[in-house]
Subunit: 341 residues, 2 copies
């Protein structure tokens, strides 16, 4: 009766990247591969997206306050609406949870959900609640809208466009590294008091990311419409490859231009000699910053905008996406596997 | 660091019903407690709903073909759109899955997702894929629409309305009972060949339910707009209590009027002397039939409609919801707990 045991030609999920897996599963459907689906006709379009967080993979209950988790579950869904240059309006929360959690614990979780909804003017309009045998899975559907001519798809980048990123990269992953280190020490000695001093910024970046609606607003104020956009949820390399693949053009970014916070660098130097801040930025993920391209004509507007960094430009059709090091070495960017944690 | 260990005043999830839990978590938000949220202004409204299926709770991989599971995950979400008297248009599928599953297994799952989408003219527009440590959680967001004056809310029932239900009740739960029985026998003796002969109807009802879009269409053809509606996902008792609570009126249904298939009765008689078909209908759940109320003026239209049964009527304000037995005993209906499986 167990149909999984006898398959011929078995392909492991890890053999495909996450993107290749989704592409395969949704081939010939209406899925466009953007951060959110675009619905409707006319000037105002509806944006819909769904984001799932899984206990033991996306969060660890050892160090995740439930209120932060509720906040983050909504924030990462809103980030997908921001990545389309849209405004979030509504959210639905589906919670699959074991009876290990008390009602008071779920109150905390929902306090975070509401806080994020309130902060971004999102109305919580529905959801589902299911029990699980173990663990928690949180799925948030976010619905937003955008003017048809302002929507930023992944596919719109063109030759010579500037590549920009908001905020800084790698900090969320650095925060995760700190929490994992403290967890291991705590498990070895439960009397141990976690030492989180001086890491407040990277911890907040991991535990309570903010969708960059402020950047969407600034771009609108300056009348800059990105030619393409996505958010940085799986690392800069992954996001650049998305934009490159969708548009057909190559991307070239400069290592020394990547915005990296000093706390991220400090975590790397404390952790291991093999851990480089640039690796956190490229492959760490969970930053939920916006990566976008703009036409060269918008250079003057962009260069003075606070919180936005120009990190490279769009090269020619069919070229690979690469990073140029300070030593002028060109490194081709590669996708991370689905199983990365 | 483990914040769940030290809570005072802990309330177990099982102490609240599922409905009470959702009510508590979403108090003071825009959640109306209908099967789907209603968005927009003007004549045509947008309907949005989300439904989650959890491995080990909603399905067991021992006896659930993945294609059926994919189909069911979309079907149950569409059922919520049907329950608002609307038409489904789009779906997003979020899949949280462990690496135990091969890519080919997920192909099977998505073949079912697409089959259901195709059958109900739904376009698959997006989704998310996450890994889990163990188990699978499937969340489907369905988006549909309906004319503003045709939407059936849970709250619209009024005194003397007729209570109607589509199809039959209890069969899906009977199918689950058969599968669980065969599983136990198989686990005791792996050489055992499951005996599913003569249970094809109840098995299909559990493994591959159909959202009753045909009923929505028939009602529209006869120009009958239900005064209230919901689907029967957690059992007839639960659904009646929803309609009663939302409207403020009581419901009275007659046991001998409840539509129950002979295969359901056969399963009950084979299983145990304590298992009554009426219990499957009231509390078994998973039928995904439509429960609705209509004005008395529509009686002539309704009574000749194939696949619809008039099972009772709406009583007065503030009355409890009850079932009357053939012996004329009145039994008050009660909600099931969240932990029911």
């Amino acid at each position: 009766m167990e149909q999984l045991q006898y398959q011929e030609g078995r392909t492991e999920i890890g053999q495909l990247g996450k993107v290749a897996l989704i592409d395969r599963l949704t081939a010939d459907t209406g899925c466009q591969g953007d951060d959110a689906a675009v619905l409707g006709k006319g000037k105002k379009r509806t944006l819909v997206t769904v984001q799932t967080l899984v206990e033991g993979v996306d969060f660890d209950m050892m160090y995740t306050p439930l209120k932060h988790l509720g906040y983050k579950s909504v924030a990462v869904a809103i980030s997908n609406i921001a990545a389309m240059n849209g405004a979030p309006r509504h959210a639905l929360v589906s919670l699959a949870v074991s009876n290990r959690y008390s009602v008071e614990a779920l109150d905390e979780l929902y306090a975070g959900v509401r806080l994020c909804c309130d902060r971004y003017n999102v109305s919580l309009i529905g959801g589902d609640t299911r029990s699980t045998r173990a663990g928690m899975v949180l799925t948030v559907t976010a619905i937003g809208d955008a003017d048809e001519d302002k929507i930023a798809y992944r596919s719109g980048a063109k030759h010579n466009d500037l590549i920009c990123v908001s905020g800084d990269l790698g900090s969320a992953y650095a925060g995760l590294l700190v929490l994992e280190r403290e967890k291991v020490t705590y498990q070895a000695n439960p009397n141990f008091q976690p030492d989180l001093d001086g890491f407040d910024y990277v911890l907040e970046r991991f535990l309570k990311p903010e969708p960059r609606m402020d950047i969407v607003k600034k771009l609108a104020e300056k009348e800059v419409v990105p030619t393409s956009m996505t958010d940085v949820s799986e690392g800069l390399a992954d996001s650049l490859l998305h934009l490159g693949k969708a548009s057909g053009y190559g991307c070239e970014v400069y290592e020394e231009r990547l915005p990296i916070d000093y706390q991220c660098s400090r975590v790397c130097s404390e952790m291991s000699k093999n851990m480089l801040p640039v690796s956190c930025a490229l492959n760490g993920g969970r930053d939920y910053e916006l990566l976008f391209t703009v036409d060269q004509k918008d250079y003057e507007k962009i260069k003075t905008m606070e919180g936005i960094h120009i990190i490279g430009y769009v090269t020619e059709k069919g070229m690979p996406s690469v990073m140029v090091t300070p030593q002028n070495t060109t490194i081709e960017l590669r996708a991370q596997g689905f199983t990365k944690q």
